[in-house]
Symmetry: C2
Subunit: 372 residues, 2 copies
């Protein structure tokens, strides 16, 4: 066992990556270099004067206070351990045990667990069910009127189908009912243009390892100025330490990769239209093979969920069962659908080129031909 | 600014490191390699089946469930974002807002902030004050009797003076009064032999980036089996997701460095007696120069706090003020005392060899000769 620890290797490192959790977190070259430079524990804190977000060397202060707010469309920003920790932090600041909140029916499981950690009562909106699983944000209205929630949350897009509900319309609703609105942009910020101000949200949550070309775990929170004294309230004993951050959060190498990748991340969101057309093309080509896309159509995000009854049928009659698809793809240098799944699976087209995706399409074609 | 982000460099990387936050977190060669291998966001989760601590490739499950408990002297272990997050997690599980806890007068500031985040009333034991700042654990007894705390915490050693109070005696007291006992071993676990079972604590808290040769942020929690269903209680909706962990905590590269360094960390704690004699020798040599060690004597930890009125006197008459010491040491390839400090400063002898520490001593001698 100790021997295994001393030689840790990844099997999927050089493959074409269409794994939805990973495509937005692949490091840039600058991040790879920073990773090595700041690998040693606490090496970000050489010149700390008491607050992580105020360190000027490396330039954490400029990154957090000058670069992040305009990028997020927020007035204030901070760094966190990840999207789930950020959502917990906001819930823990704004709501008390027993309070209600309203969230979309496509919320990530961590939204429910974060609410449970605070002791909140969660009301979910419906969604349209199979095959599109769409959330209509007007469904928040009766739930807000009935439950008087302390906050509302929208997952934008959701991690299961990559659906993008009408966040701006929900921003209007939130303002009309004067209820704080968290936009969970773990799969949006760093991939596509998204502005908290334009949406009209109070908080925007981002994930470094999911969508900002950063090592994990890492996250970002943007908010309106008026929430700063609540969510970033200071300790009564230590006037430069935020209670919800326990003083400092991301005190290490994931912060450095987040910073090092930021110039490229800022640039790449400007090319989102190319990402969307690539995803739509890939989806339509896979559909021609009888593999049906779930979620919104036309799709507006690189995260795609497919239903593939033929692959499932194959899995029932081969020795490896569902793992045959993983093996067949891996043999073709492709890493993506969760090992074991065939009935339905998720992929992301974000990191792969059209040429690589053509190889993926050819591979699905070849696999179907081989077994059918 | 974007240009600065694209080229992040550390100034202290190759220097003799006696900086107390950093000496225990310097990466091993195995950790450096694992860092690169698993740098991309979420790359630890290739083969996740729903729970981070159950992943077998890389061998997280074996590390957390088989290797950590015997190393910690605990019955159960898990991984966290760091010591402060771990302490919050235990407090949040065991106590309610308004409850009281008793902690040592040398506690880290984050213990107070974590308690404030939960809404707890904190009672601190006294310490002996200047120059030794010793905590007598018998001082917990009247505080336990008067305040009926929901838990007690001991910092072992404290991060300010490196004092090691009588943890085993406090374990007996905790058992006698039946009060859960957290041992904060952020500066102990990974440096020196320490066993939760031998101390008689209920919880042991460790820091990967402070003392386990790991990238930051990262932490470890060990506990008695009887606390597992409270601290690691599962979500009512997701039966494999721990509420306090929000499903998964350390989902990324700090976990990998923690694992990769573990074989060497396990080995190095066996040589703690050499570390102690090295620290005592360094301290006695520095005292010969008129720089007085604070904290317990003879000292039993590599974390050392010194008082240096002559250096402070110099700082008052040189152009750079307190920063002259930082510059003088840096010119001699030494990185350690916080830039700006001269009146008193902390160092750690953990990572430097006796030869390197001789150079440090020569440097202090030369600096004093130069200015006095």
């Amino acid at each position: 066992m100790l021997q295994k620890l001393a030689n840790l290797r990844r099997q999927h490192k050089e493959l074409i990556n269409i794994m939805p959790l990973q495509t937005g977190g692949l490091l840039t070259q600058a991040a790879k270099e920073a990773l090595i430079e700041f690998g040693d524990g606490y090496s970000t804190c050489d010149f700390c004067l008491g607050s992580l977000c105020d360190i000027t060397n490396p330039p954490v202060r400029e990154f957090v206070h000058e670069l992040l707010p305009p990028f997020l469309g927020s007035e204030v920003a901070t760094i966190t351990h990840g999207a789930r920790e950020t959502i917990f932090m906001v819930m823990h600041s704004l709501a008390q045990p027993g309070d209600s909140i309203v969230v979309d029916g496509n919320r990530h499981y961590t939204t429910m667990v974060a609410a449970e950690r605070v002791g909140l009562n969660v009301i979910e909106t419906p969604h349209s069910g199979h095959p599109e699983f769409k959330v209509d944000v007007d469904d928040y209205i009766p739930l807000i009127e009935n439950h008087k929630p302390k906050l509302i949350l929208l997952t934008y897009p959701d991690g299961n189908h990559g659906n993008l509900p009408d966040a701006k319309r929900l921003g209007d609703i939130a303002q009309q009912y004067n209820v704080p609105f968290i936009l969970n942009g773990a799969y949006a910020v760093g991939r596509m243009p998204v502005s908290m101000a334009e949406v009209g949200a109070d908080f925007i949550v981002a994930s470094g390892h999911k969508s900002m070309a950063s090592a994990g775990p890492s996250g970002v929170l943007g908010m309106k100025k008026k929430w700063e004294e609540i969510v970033l309230r200071k300790s009564s004993l230590y006037s430069n330490k935020e209670i919800e951050l326990l003083g400092c959060t991301l005190r290490g190498v994931p912060l450095i990769t987040l910073m090092a990748s930021f110039p490229e991340v800022q640039e790449r969101v400007l090319h989102w239209d190319e990402q969307v057309s690539k995803a739509q093309w890939f989806s339509s080509e896979l559909e021609k093979l009888g593999i049906k896309q779930l979620g919104e159509k036309p799709h507006r995000h690189d995260l795609l969920h497919f239903e593939s009854p033929m692959l499932y049928d194959i899995s029932k009659r081969v020795r490896e069962r569902g793992y045959f698809l993983y093996r067949e793809l891996k043999e073709r240098n492709i890493w993506g659908p969760q090992p074991g799944l065939t009935k339905s699976f998720k992929v992301s087209t974000f990191a792969a080129s059209r040429e690589q995706l053509s190889l993926v399409l050819d591979s699905f074609r070849a696999i179907l031909n081989k077994y059918c």
